[in-house]
Structure formats: C-alpha cells, structure tokens
C-alpha cells in the first residue's frame, strides 16, 4: 500500500514527519510542497506497485507451469 505521505517524501527528502497534509523537517519546521505533484507521484508509485504485484503473479504462474511446487516457489520469491 502506497500512501500520499510516501509520495510527498519521495519528492521532498527534507521531510521527516507528516501529520495529515502538514509536513515537517527534522527540526520540526513546516515544509511546503506541491500537492498536485505529490498526487501525481502517488499515482505513479501506485501503478509501479500494481505492476510489481502483476509481475509476481505472472512469475508464479510460469514457475508452476514448469513444475515447481508451491514450497519451491515460496523459497525462491517469498
């Protein structure tokens, strides 16, 4: 699960704490950021996460077709 907080941090490395939509640096000072850019980054990160899930499912399917057991597949990819 990717949260908006993750996207905000991905675009702003100085942000340490986020409370709701309010972001703060390591000294507790407020940090401003571009919410529209963060929303776009969130969409991008969620798509990447979904792609990873799909790739994993595809890999499991192909390994199963090759004759690997579920235990063997789990040992490989967790």
């Amino acid at each position: 699960m990717i949260f908006l907080h993750d996207a905000i941090r991905a675009l702003n490395s100085s942000i340490v704490n986020i409370r709701g939509e309010d972001a703060f640096d390591v000294n507790g000072n407020p940090v401003t950021y571009d919410m529209a850019a963060a929303q776009a980054k969130l969409t991008e990160m969620q798509a990447a996460e979904q792609a990873t899930v799909a790739h994993k499912a595809s890999a499991v399917s192909k390994l199963t077709a090759l004759g690997l057991s579920a235990d063997e597949i789990n040992a490989l990819i967790g």
Binding site: F3, H5, R9, N17, I18, R19, G20
Partner: protein, 167 residues
Amino acid sequence: MALTKVPGSMVSPAQSGSVIQTVNNNLFGNGAYFSTTTAGTYQATGHTLSITPQFSTSKILLTCTGFFGVNGVGAYLTIYRNSTDLSQTSGSYNSCLSGLFRSDGSGSANLFSFETVTFLDSPATTSSTTYQVYIQTQTSGQSAYWGADPAWLNHYNITFTAQEIAQ
C-alpha cells in the same frame, strides 16, 4: 425546600475502582494520520488528549486503538504524559508500549497491525495532564505510521481514551 446534609463519605473519595470521568479523542480521515522516518527518538503524532484528575490518588486508564504500521523493518509506539515517556526509557526504541518487527530483518513491504494499547498511569496530580501517542521507526528513512488503513478504504480511524479510576 428542606436541605439534606450529605455525609462526606458519600462524596469523596469516589468508590474504589469506579470510573470518575472519561475523556476521548477519536480521529477519522483519509489517507494516513501521521508518519515519520525518524529512528532513535520518539516523534509526537499530534494525537493527544487532556484530563484533569479530580483526585491525586486516582489512576488513569489509557487506551489507544488504530492501525499501526511500517514500510520497513520495524516500528515502536509509546504514550507520553506531558514530557514523560510512559514506557520509561525516553528516546530509545528499546522501550515501547507496542511494536512491530520483522524477525528476518527484511523491510521491503508494509507491515500493519490493528493495535489496542493500554496503560494504567498514576499521574499523582489534580492538574490538567496531557497524554500523546508517539511513534518511531526502527531504521531511519523507513516510514512508520500511526493511523493508516493498509488496504481497504484508505482512511484512518484512531481512538485515544483516558478514564480516571478512583482508588
């Protein structure tokens, strides 16, 4: 109308074990309520409540609930009374009231749990006392969350309740 004298034993102190007052701060919203990437020092979540005990001998039963999680190796939670860490060792993640940890040390995915944390405090005061939930992450740079639905509706629902218990 005739006045009735109430014996002192009937009004103070309250019967031992009875609840004198209850204060709560329940929060709802979209996304995540609070997150931090700080390790080694507990961070204030902003989830607070204040209670003014009627008796200095009273206990305060604290209960907080909600999804607690980490995108990484581990995360830790405690409650502060004013500036005092109730898990006793302020500032160290070796001390906590709740924690999440991957035993294999891996940290590439989210780990979430719906937590119910309770603590029986003895503030020994009749002054207004503020309690707050604090969290930190195990590994700097990895996100820890207080109040974040990991999968379903992408909203948070966290509760924080204090009950004064007569002694």
